[in-house]
Symmetry: C2
Subunit: 400 residues, 2 copies
């Protein structure tokens, strides 16, 4: 039998999905498992999007344009104007999920062996896309004690080598919920300009900013228009993760031209998803108001409850729908598995994401947990109660 | 502005899509353009598949399993049994189109710099997937005078180096319509076994075999079960190209395990497409009987008509829905562009694919044309008449 490729061996298993078999075990025992481990909200997809697909009368589901349907790209360009992002439809390439936008960005801009700096903890699948494209990740640690703020730019400077080609940020951030400030983004702009780097900005949570805080896109930064590549997705915005529709956006025509060639090789993004994505742009504002109110309620419940538990600390996140907390435990991977394998409280338990998989530096995040507040307030309360009770009896609890 | 990546520069533009702007010009002049250039059939997608999507009542279009929905994989395993391909559902990974199956196969099995041997002319997008994954293509020319039969295995032997890791075949073949014989596949089996190579088999046209000729899958070959990776797609089978659903199939558990990690990074295949793909498995046999009869009628018309035109020769293809012909011209790229820019016959013209882009050896295929018989017999007749008239007046016609 021939050998699997080195990259096939290096590819990490998804840290979020590793625990799935243990959840199955808990369910087989008849336990209710609250899934706070994934970014799959329970929020309904807007009806306008669902209906567009249900009412379609196409006889042949044919190939579309490799850059995505032009009508959709035009509407999306209009949508971005609401966020003060001024792009033409030709600056937009529709992709198969935000995942493909990241892949195309890496493939188009970076050579194998090139280095990319990114603040950790970060969205774990970046590691997979880096392995696929042969790119090296250079992490800079943002700390829970600083509320996961951007580390000082001097730390970025230290990592810049001739191989450094890009900085990648995820704003608002998964897994921390951190929303970058104008000062932080300006500092990033300056270093990007100074070293002529790409700035990849994964902004798939941009609709989820709370407390009246300003959302600043990398696309707003002046003087680095040709350096910025924004990655977007409809997965979170419209609770439409299964549609697999995203977008790569750049004012730099060379990037779009290169990315389109990768797009041509894979032919086109999914037809039904594009249909839904285009229709979803007309989702009424009231939908987002309701959704945001709901998320704020959930977030407040999660953060307030967690901070009342002895030994737990959780900074207040201002974006996305995740909270990252420190627990009084030594090994979050073990704790999360134990919750599913061993623990139950009134026949319920909870599935959480250990944060170690979101760090690229080994040994970090071992006492940190990511919680996606993707369930309704009642289920969340029950889940939080489980966490509280679990920490009372968990044998791996840290002693002070 | 930072530089685009080397692979971004190396990526070929799709040879099929390069001519698209010229077709637009012809249309703007009010001309009817017969599109025989793409693999997008006019055949209706089975209603059972369309209706499944139209009648779905999901409220949230959520992430699915990274390997694809289990119910779909189980049904697909059953479907393959009809073709004497005996696989478990766990041997199947649902992908976003056949394109992603090829990518995952390359990424999982091959290292950057590894070599892959494939008979040319071949599906042009293989070049793009090779560039993305850093793999080197080593072509072996199959000749139109041999009806595009597999070149002698001794030719393959000559290309085997320590870097050779795989042979890739497309059976039935795009762009030639060639269907490999049992002897040819046995010869491939022997060399794969001898050198412990992977055999990638892109069999997306397997439902389209004509004249009672036997379809032999790479999955049928004994003794190399762990070496074979089959790539499949619903695009052609159900005329559902825009759904973007394919599959990677292998009895080799290590390959599936590695491919699944690449699958986890991109989360899941499209939900609506999987829904349709699963339902489509119940498409009645009568659908395929009709479709195959239709294709045979079209193929016969194309091949017979072409061979009557002076200077044109076209071998009879026994599979897929393409015919590859030699035209009495020196530069097929120019001819195809000229057809759109300059030519008209009764205000009609035709869009064809020059074959040069399907060869990796420079200078080959310059007098060859691929015709997709994807239009109904009336339109095809008109298109063929255009070709006949065009060759009478084309200024670049070869003189004997």
């Amino acid at each position: 039998m021939p050998n699997i490729s080195n990259r096939g061996m290096e590819m990490p298993e998804s840290p979020i999905r590793r625990l799935a078999p243990y959840a199955e075990v808990a369910k087989k025992k008849g336990r209710t498992v609250y899934h706070l481990n994934i970014g799959q909200p329970d929020i309904a997809t807007p009806e306008i999007a669902l209906n567009e697909v249900k009412n379609n009368d196409l006889k042949v589901i044919a190939y579309g344009h490799s850059a995505g349907n032009e009508s959709y790209r035009r509407k999306l360009a209009d949508y971005y104007k609401k966020y003060n992002i001024n792009v033409e439809y030709s600056d937009i390439l529709i992709t198969t999920g935000g995942s493909e936008a990241i892949c195309f960005g890496f493939l188009s801009c970076l050579n194998p062996g090139d280095e990319i700096i990114l603040p950790e903890p970060f969205y774990a699948n970046y590691i997979g896309f880096a392995v696929s494209s042969g790119v090296k990740i250079k992490p800079i640690t943002s700390k829970i004690d600083d509320g996961f703020a951007l580390p000082p730019i001097s730390e970025f400077e230290k990592l810049v080598t001739p191989k450094t080609k890009a900085i990648l940020i995820n704003n608002p951030n998964n897994p921390t919920g951190y929303l970058y400030s104008r000062d932080e983004l300006n500092a990033l702009r300056d270093i990007v300009k100074k070293h002529n780097l790409y700035l990849f900005a994964d902004e798939v949570y941009k609709e989820f900013c709370y407390d009246g805080m300003e959302y600043i896109s990398a696309m707003h930064l002046e003087g680095i228009e040709d350096n910025v590549v924004m990655m977007d997705s409809i997965s979170k915005r419209y609770s439409a993760c299964g549609m697999r529709i995203g977008a790569l956006i750049s004012k730099n025509k060379e990037i779009i031209k290169a990315a389109l060639k990768f797009g041509q090789a894979r032919l086109c993004p999914p037809a039904y998803g594009q249909m839904a994505g285009e229709a979803a742009i007309d989702t009424p504002d009231s939908y987002f108001e309701e959704v945001l109110n709901e998320y704020v309620k959930r977030r407040n419940l999660v953060v307030e409850t967690l901070n009342k538990i002895e030994g737990v600390s959780c900074p207040m996140p201002h974006g996305a729908f995740y909270a990252a907390a420190r627990f009084p435990i030594a090994d979050a991977d073990h704790f999360c598995q134990w919750l599913l394998e061993e623990f139950e409280y009134e026949n319920q338990t909870v599935m959480l994401s250990p944060m170690s998989g979101f760090y690229s530096t080994k040994g970090l995040g071992t006492d940190e947990i990511r919680i996606g507040y993707v369930l309704n307030v009642d289920d969340l309360s029950n889940a939080l109660k489980c966490i509280e009770e679990a920490l009372k009896v968990y044998p791996g609890r840290k002693t002070k």
